[in-house]
Symmetry: C2
Subunit: 338 residues, 2 copies
């Protein structure tokens, strides 16, 4: 399989290490857990002492991932390591309080990540944006270190791949992703169990929120959008809006772009709106998000804007419709000339 080569320095560092601290990122997702714990079990298979650590407390749906309950909180992390491996974090600040410069800056830091935006903040950096998940990279590392993709390693790594690709639905799901997934499943990873524990989990309160939000969902000029007000979240008993509703809006046949606007209180106590955008293949919402001070990728991006809900929604919907019209015209011209 073709992928960005593993730096030989990384293999040497692992080979020479005895006590390894493994760190993943703040606001952890399934690939943060999967790549972190897969790496820990890989190192243990190689006879190393390996310790996982994370800034945030354990998320319920990853409770039962092998090793999840061993993950240290920042205050329990000391400096007695001879190698630090950071997984799935695109910049140093994403390690949160786990990485303590005064304790850790003398220890070699190895970065393993699949984000194209990685800042190469390690002493050694292996960044492979062609991989759909950092867990996929750890599988290639296991291959390079002659470790089998079985048991706990397999369950952790497939969890990372399944969650980051929404179970092979994202556009970066190459044949190489399916090949690794097949080997992990052959090694004992339980794909249906992973799907049940991670993707197929919706709290009943989310349905109650949807029943309040959907009646006001609008579709105009190829853009579909929904607005989530604070009183609606409260009525449903939810603290925050999850990403599922956005995933559903992004599948509406009649729309090329979708948006969810969530009412927030800004840092200064002023009203604010969290905007989350999605675009169908052939369209892009990242330029608009960047222009509004946010970030993301062409198919999924977002930003947070200060201002009252209704006026902000009206303004941003117009910007989305303008962007869609321009992009559709451009597509039309491109298709006409090819």
């Amino acid at each position: 399989m073709m992928h960005t080569p593993i730096p030989t320095e990384l293999l040497t560092l692992i080979d020479q290490s005895q006590r390894v601290l493994c760190i993943s990122h703040v606001s952890p997702d399934g690939d943060a857990y999967g790549s972190l714990l897969g790496m820990v079990w890989l190192l243990r298979h190689l006879g190393k002492e390996a310790t996982p650590a994370m800034h945030d407390p354990l998320v319920t749906e990853f409770n039962d991932l092998p090793g999840a309950r061993e993950i240290l909180s920042p205050r329990r992390v000391d400096g007695a390591y001879d190698l630090i491996i950071c997984l799935d974090a695109s910049s140093a600040d994403r390690m949160g309080d786990v990485y303590k410069p005064q304790k850790h800056s003398h220890i070699p830091l190895a970065v393993i990540d699949h984000h194209a935006t990685n800042t190469n903040f390690g002493a050694v950096n292996w960044v492979a944006p062609e991989c759909a998940a950092t867990a996929q990279m750890v599988a290639y590392l296991a291959d390079a270190l002659d470790a089998p993709l079985t048991g706990k390693i397999a369950q952790c790594l497939l969890t990372g791949i399944v969650t980051d690709t929404l179970c092979f639905r994202t556009s970066n799901t190459t044949p190489a992703v399916l090949e690794v997934a097949m080997r992990l499943q052959d090694g004992g990873a339980d794909l249906p169990d992973i799907v049940q524990r991670t993707l197929a989990r919706l709290p009943f309160a989310a349905l109650q929120l949807w029943s309040l939000v959907l009646p006001e969902t609008r579709l105009e000029e190829g853009v579909v959008w929904a607005t989530v007000r604070r009183d609606q979240l409260q009525a449903a008993g939810l603290k925050d809006n999850d990403s599922r509703l956005n995933t559903i809006l992004s599948t509406i046949i009649e729309a090329d772009m979708s948006a969810i606007f969530t009412e927030k209180i800004g840092k200064t106590g002023e009203p604010a709106v969290e905007c989350s955008f999605r675009a169908k293949p052939g369209f892009s919402v990242s330029e608009l998000a960047f222009a509004l001070g946010g970030g993301g990728h062409p198919p999924a991006s977002g930003c947070t804007l200060e201002g009252p809900l209704d006026a902000t929604v009206a303004r941003v919907v117009h910007l989305l419709q303008d962007a869609r019209r321009t992009q559709a015209a451009h597509r039309g011209r491109r298709q006409a000339t090819t």
Copy 2:
């Protein structure tokens, strides 16, 4: 890969054929289209004349599948064939009006299907319930006939696999499924395109239906259910309820079983209720569906009952709650003794 062996008679029949009629089932899904058209392109690769036919008119989302527009309606099907291959149909009646006994009964009929309930209605029957899709079987047939899994064959077969497994989310997604999917993608099938065209497609009207149905969705004793009334379908401008809402209800964390009840008019003009059930792993709804005169599998089953909506829903919800309670107690005992 291990699978039910291909009968040598099937290979012989294909080898000796010149003009082949390929049939799939009524109310076609993605595997009906994918296995049918994949088979047609496989036969054409082998130098045969192959004609696809189906009882129902073409479904929009499969319009662009290679060969879809060549599919004959029943009235255009004649008898000038030397082999008929029936794909993904578990019994003869599932072929609808395409199969005309007076014209076709003298022609050898070969059945290729992955349903465990197949009635073996062909002269030769290859039934492989361990396969997640009939399209997966056609890939093995191509292997046996030394045909490459490329181009049009690959696109059709991966469409069948993706739709029947909800993109690798169903519990029958074995490593063998991922292995075939990887080979089809390597052969040129466009996985993200297939996901966009089939699974990631929701009409805006469906959201409007959900906004009417969700406020009355209930969760009690581990069973979550929704009721779809005829006036709600009409208000949303829909003829029928799609399966997406059921898929969402089946992911509710607090429920082990889910149901959608859709109000219908029975064959005699009397009120009727279409019941669709889902169960989480470790639970089963097929016994209840069978007891009520329906059918299906442990995780997904259904039935149609005569009677007024509200009374029928109340009765069936009680039966579901009873079944869940019994199964949960049984699970408890089993876990206590192991």
